[in-house]
Amino acid sequence: MADLSKDTLLDMYRNMVVIRRLEEKSAELYQQGLIGGFLHLYIGQEATGVGAVWALGEDDHVITAYRDHGIAVSIGIEPKYILAEMMGKTTGVSKGKGGSMHLADKDKHFWGGYAIVGGHLPLATGLALRARYKDENFAVLCLMGDGSTNIGYFHESLNMSAVWDLPVVWMIENNQYGMGTAVDRASGETELVKRAVGYGMKEGPRVDGMDVLAVYDATKEALEYAKKNGPILMESLTYRFVGHSMGDPERYRTKEEVHEYQEGDPIRIFGDKLIGEHKVTQEQLDVFDREARDLINEAVEFATNSPNPEFDDLFVDIYS
């Protein structure tokens, strides 16, 4: 079990709450027309992102798909830069060019979110190649949705990482749907980790993705394994409480199903655990919640007051 100090546990909890409040606020801003385009929320999946990212060591790297807000917050990008990006401002993570699906921070070893599903998997293989090439001791955590396991990139990436013993933790955030398509309608083998066998790769656990500490432990172990031995495939079993993106009519699942999963809200579960096992009070948790709200409100103000890009900004950073 995770051997984490109480302070760390509280920080992880805060991290989850900040993600939740950020997501709720961005939904609001979207409805007000202040965020445009497409918006994919992480509500319900916070335990996976936080548990996985907090397991990363100083030298490890992470890369993910387009549902990336939670990973960005967990890796330490301040919400104000995320909201500024979503609102298309020059102070945003990619100066308004990318929007919410391509958050990144190279200094934090976060190689970003990718809008083309599965497109980042072979990049993870390449990032990990460096570890073997330069004999460095790091691993790459590659997060992906269940949907991305069915595009060809998955096959090539996993196979190469296995052939070359590359230190990659392939982590499927299995939230049970790729857009409106349930896993069993898209994958012949629904226990996705079993695919590891076909690549001669370590079959990792299917961890409870609603339990942040379970995700943390499993990821930590997987990262250690990858550094020593080579790639491992694991799943975090989770659920998104909201639509695929804003305006999803969600005809593919019942309200009852969603409610049932919401009963197992990962933030509440962790809060209860902190209260029950770590002598934290509800009042303390409430304070974190208020702080998170304040942080997000300040972030909105920052983003709102930030300048828009202008015509000339179109032509910046085309060639290096």
């Binding site: 445009g36 083309i116 599965g118 595009i151 990139y153 085309i318």
Partner: protein, 329 residues
């Protein structure tokens, strides 16, 4: 006639073709109960069943490759790619297989399939949900490429595409899906032939060539400069980009001697360069001014932020300005 949106016309075309020919089926991501991301296939699964409206896993290469195989085997697939931006994984299947199959089989294996893909910017989609890819595919003989600008054409051309014995790429302006409305016959089968250009508006002063949403914008701009400046533009909607109707393109130019070509894709090596080449090759003696292009700037993608997205996109205002410039030459 009834007023329809572009996307309604597209849905109707698929519906009618499925009713007409039981070999016609649709596959793509979430085309079934969800009706596709833009709802183009809404309701079709209820009418034709899951055997003919087939939800596929997230796998663009296979969505298209399965279409090719099924077409070779005698079916009539309509393959939906959610956004044109996701078509790249299927590049090999389109360029090496669909386009070359008839040629390599000495005319024995036609590939009668349709690939539908929403293209273009203007909806805040950002770098990976806004691309225009027609120029890339227009370089590949063996493919047919259609980009309709209005509901009447969209329905008639899509029906022709389904009946065509060749692979047809059908690019749909997603920005125009609900923005562009027009008259479509209420009943009775009609088709619009793949091939000929269409004159949307007659005029003597200069010709503007465009397709897709840019043809729609150009028509608006042409009305505006007629009202405000008395400039009469002829607007030629290319609508079939491959094979190219060289005669149709030249015809208007013979009359006006001046040409502006509008497209949303990046300027350099864009489709408009080919139109300019046709005019220069075969229309030199009619030329009465420089052949001008108005297109998206040469940047790697349509950026997300609204002000720079708008800076990227040609629009009626920019088109009107370009028309005035050229008319003044």
């Amino acid at each position: 006639m009834a007023m329809k949106t572009l996307i309604e016309a597209i849905s109707e075309a698929m519906d009618e073709e499925m009713a007409r020919d039981e070999r016609v089926f649709i596959t793509g991501e979430d085309v079934g109960p969800r009706g596709g991301v833009f709802r183009a296939t809404m309701g079709l699964i209820d009418k034709y069943g899951a055997g003919r409206v087939v939800d596929s896993p997230l796998a663009e290469l296979s969505i298209i490759a399965i279409g090719i195989g099924a077409a070779m085997a005698g079916l009539r697939p309509i393959c939906e790619i959610q956004f044109a931006d996701f078509i790249h994984p299927a590049m090999n299947q389109i360029i090496n297989e669909a386009a070359k199959m008839y040629y390599r089989s000495d005319g024995q294996w036609p590939v009668p399939m349709v690939i539908r893909a929403p293209y273009g910017g203007g909806i805040g989609g950002g770098l990976y949900h806004s691309q225009s890819l027609e120029a890339i595919f227009a370089h590949v003989p063996g493919l047919k490429i259609v980009v309709p600008s209005n509901p009447y054409d969209a329905k008639g051309l899509l029906k022709s595409a389904v009946r065509d014995p060749n692979p047809v790429m059908f690019f749909e302006t997603k920005k125009g899906y609900r923005l562009i409305k027009g008259e479509v016959p209420e009943d009775g089968d009609y088709t619009v032939p793949i091939g000929p250009v269409n004159v949307l508006r007659e005029g003597d002063d200069l010709t503007v060539y465009a397709y897709g949403i840019m043809a729609y914008y150009t028509w608006q701009a042409a009305e505006q400069v007629a009202d405000e400046d008395g400039i009469e533009c002829e607007v030629v909607d290319i609508r079939t980009l491959l094979p190219l109707d060289r005669e149709g393109i030249l015809e208007s130019f013979k009359k006006t001697g001046k040409a502006l070509i509008v497209y949303e894709d990046n300027l350099t090596m864009g489709y408009g360069a080919e139109i300019a080449a046709v005019l220069s090759d075969d229309g030199f003696e009619y030329m009465d001014g420089p052949i001008k292009r108005l297109a998206g700037p040469d940047v790697p993608g349509v950026p997300f932020s609204h002000p720079i997205q708008e800076a990227f996109m040609p629009n009626p205002k920019k088109i009107a300005a370009a028309i005035r410039d050229l008319a003044g030459y």
